[in-house]
């Protein structure tokens, strides 16, 4: 599904990532973990086209997508969520999700402004699909709320609903549980599994180990910009290197 | 003959360029301390000239006393502007800041029109009008004053930024405002300082150029924009790059006006501005990493 090979990222002389390689299988939930500063978010930003890596390649379903801009990756059914949720705060919840349907609709500027018949029926289709995703994430009650007024936990759900509207085959989530209370985290775990059951490959960066060990099929561990280990949750839990890195008595 | 003419254009370009440089440094100082492009910067240039005129005519002060009075008065306007318009802004988004500094500049210009009317006024040259011959070209004593005063201000600026505590604090703010705040620098005070320094510099620029070009309530618009061009060429530095930017702009304008067409003189600055912003937004001398986004 996703193949990352030899990714190196250097920011003004500082090496943030060094020759990181791994691959992610179709239909898995993969966790990327590691102490602060390990380079997890940088890696996400490279995979999703927000940064351009210094060297190395990213392959999506066999196609080299290194250097593709995010909007092009969305058309290849890759989508992501952000650590500090990035909502369209001036728009309603429903409108936010409707933006997610952008790649699944085609009406151009003039067709929209002149209300051509096909753009009207497309608009109807966008709206009902968006409602479907609000139902999926249990957000229907908030459909007409302005996104900027949502409580944080609901904002997180909205971001996920919006990303699902892209109908992704792979979804990257940057710390989806950050800022959630324990109840919300349990619900999130369930939701992520449901997303996987839709056939979406999920990759998540997460600090909440309980969540990671619970839902992930495989785990990649980064430390100081390098891949430290890779395996099933059990293998990772038993790895001496990983324990050492987390406890900080490395070398 | 041809060479003399070019020399003449270059020399007069240098003195207007020095003015642009002073205004441009004013832009950069505020930008570096606050992230704001102060569209009202040109109005301090106008205020400098017109306040000097009032000090001379109404209060009958001698020139050496009128100048510091005018500079201090313009600075007071700068402080009021920062206190009344910038600081209380509830939503300081870039667009709101652009709009409020434009609004402020129109307001200052309009009030100046009320006070001084729509006529152009002149200020006597600092030391007579007897031309001085250099090679085949001639310059006026005022040109020398402009170059000398600009040089002194730039040196004073350098001393301030590198050898005083508050100057160093300002530089810290320019690098990283939040970090500067965390190590105990009073960032708001630095913002106020930046407005003080740049309004004073703008006023000085307006005073020293007034004897050459006359002054009126609306001279600030063009001079301000040209100063901004100088700052853009210099990569928004508050040092030598902007000075060179100003000189390049002044000389190109003067050559363009003399050799091509005086009507398009003002267009030259803006074409340069657009080209720099499109091709090298980090300025002519900057490194590529300072993104203007």
């Amino acid at each position: 599904m996703l193949e990352v090979s030899g990714i190196t990222q250097i920011f003004g002389g500082v090496t943030a990532l060094e020759a990181v390689s791994f691959s992610i299988a179709q239909g898995d939930i993969t966790g990327v973990i590691g102490p602060n500063g390990a380079g997890k978010t940088t890696l996400f930003n490279i995979i999703t086209g927000i940064y351009r890596q210094t060297s190395g390649t990213v392959q999506l379903e066999g196609r080299d997508v290194s250097g593709y801009p995010p909007e092009k990756l969305a058309r290849l059914a890759m989508v992501r969520t952000f650590q500090n949720i990035e909502l369209f705060s001036g728009m309603t919840v429903l409108e936010n999700v409707m933006v997610g349907m952008h790649t699944k609709s085609t009406s151009g500027l003039l067709a929209c402004a002149l209300k051509m018949p096909w753009s009207i029926s497309e608009e109807r289709r966008i709206r009902s699909a968006a409602m479907k995703w609000l139902e999926f994430t249990d957000m229907v009650a908030y459909a007409d709320t302005v996104a900027g007024n949502l409580p944080f936990g609901k904002g997180r759900l909205l971001e996920i609903a919006r990303a699902l509207a892209v109908e992704p085959r792979i979804m990257l989530m940057d710390e989806p549980a950050a800022g959630l209370n324990s109840q919300e985290t349990v619900a999130l775990a369930k939701l992520i599994k449901q997303i996987r059951d839709l056939g979406v490959t999920v990759v998540l960066v997460e600090h909440d180990m309980e969540l990671v060990m619970d839902i992930c099929d495989r785990i990649v561990v980064l430390n100081l910009g390098r891949k430290l280990a890779e395996g099933t949750p059990r293998e990772i839990q038993e790895s001496h290197e990983v324990i050492a890195a987390y406890l900080g008595d490395g070398d | 003959m041809q060479f003399d003419q070019i020399l003449q254009y270059v020399l007069s370009g240098f003195s207007t360029g020095a003015i642009y440089a002073l205004i441009g440094i004013g832009f950069s100082i505020i930008y570096n301390a606050t992230g704001i492009i102060n569209f009202a910067q040109g109005e301090f240039v106008m205020l400098g000239g017109l306040l000097t005129l009032s000090c001379l005519q109404i209060f009958n002060l001698p020139l050496w006393a009128a100048i510091p009075c005018a500079v201090s008065a313009s600075t007071v306007v700068g402080i009021l502007f920062e206190r009344l318009a910038i600081r209380p802004l509830r939503q300081p988004t870039p667009i709101n800041l652009v709009i409020i500094t434009i609004g402020g500049s129109i307001l200052i210009r309009g009030l100046a029109m009320l006070v001084w009317g729509k006529d152009t006024h002149s200020i006597p040259a600092f030391s007579g009008d007897a031309p001085i011959a250099i090679g085949g070209a001639t310059i006026l004593p005022q040109h020398l004053w402009i170059l000398a005063i600009t040089l002194i201000i730039i040196l004073a600026n350098k001393l301030y930024f590198y050898h005083t505590i508050s100057g160093k604090a300002m530089r810290a703010c320019a690098y990283n405002r939040r970090a500067a705040g965390l190590v105990g620098i009073d960032v708001r005070r630095m913002v106020l300082f930046s407005f003080i320094i740049s309004s004073a510099m703008g006023a000085v620029a307006g005073i020293i150029v007034a004897p050459l070009t006359m002054t009126a309530y609306d001279v600030g618009v063009m001079l301000g924009l040209k100063g901004f061009c100088a700052a853009i060429i210099g990569g928004m530095s508050s040092g030598i790059s902007t000075v060179i930017g100003g000189l390049i702009l002044g000389v190109l304008e003067s050559l363009g006006a003399g050799l091509i067409s005086s009507g398009y003189k003002d267009a030259i600055a803006f074409i340069i501005l657009l080209l720099i912003l499109f091709i090298r937004p980090q300025g002519l001398f900057g490194k590529a990493d300072s993104e203007r986004v």
Binding site: E86, S89, H102 | I36, P88, P281
Partner: protein, 319 residues
Amino acid sequence: MRRDLLFFSGFSLLVMLAPQLFKGGYLMNVLVFVGINTMLAIALNLLLGYAGQISLGHAGFFGLGAYLSGILTTTANLNPWLAMPLAAIIVGCLAGTIGFPILKLKGHYLAMATLGLGIIIYIVFNETIELTGGPSGLSGIPNLKLAGISFDSDVKNYYLIWGMALAVMLFSINLANSRVGRALRAVHDSEVAAQVLGVNARLLKVQIFALSAVISSLAGSLYAHTMTFISPTSFGFNFSIELLTMVVIGGLGSIYGSFLGAALLTLLPEFLRGANDYDIIIYGGLLVVMVMFMPGGMVRGIPAAFRKVVRRKEVRDHA
């Protein structure tokens, strides 16, 4: 959606009945300008209020429309109905081309670059004397004619201009509530999130910049054909600022707000005849006061202030 349509119909009806109320007269002429300024304010609002991209050079596009129409109909003897779309296409292509490099810039830099562009266009109007007549202007521009009617009086022009202005309004309202309008607002709120969802932010910004220029150009053509005389001073930096003022005090991102802003700023100088020279103080003051106290503009600020007053009164009544 239905309520929007009802509101628009009511507004259109009012606009169409207005001449009956004022029975011609001088005010009709002013209302023609309100119509033109409404189109211009909406054009700028699509860019600034919806896409969040500032332009301080829109008077330039307005002027290009006016001059192209003027030159094509006088020098090239073209039919005004042909000259108008031709001018709009030329301006649209120009804006589309320059849009790519210019919209890479953000915030203050975009403001300065568009400002520079506007001034360059203004200088060209002044200096290409053989074409534009330079500072003394271009006269003898023909009126528009339709089915034997020549639009040469204030009342006829009123219907012409307001017909177009209402079309522009409806067009923009539809756009704002569509797939493209949502994408625009999304780019405004979080560009990176919009991109991740597949919105090509750069292309979209350029498209809306070009559309905005095209509407401004159409307004310029209409201006030229109703005035029959144009000169550069109408298209300078000050007018760009006036347009910005209309959009901001009316309300960013509100089509009816643009109408309010345009109406206020066009009518105000008429009521302040004596203070003719001092209108710039009023503009400046309005801009500062609005950004500080009513950042949402009149369309949001006035109802909010009203609610506050009512609530305060209720509290007092209860006490």
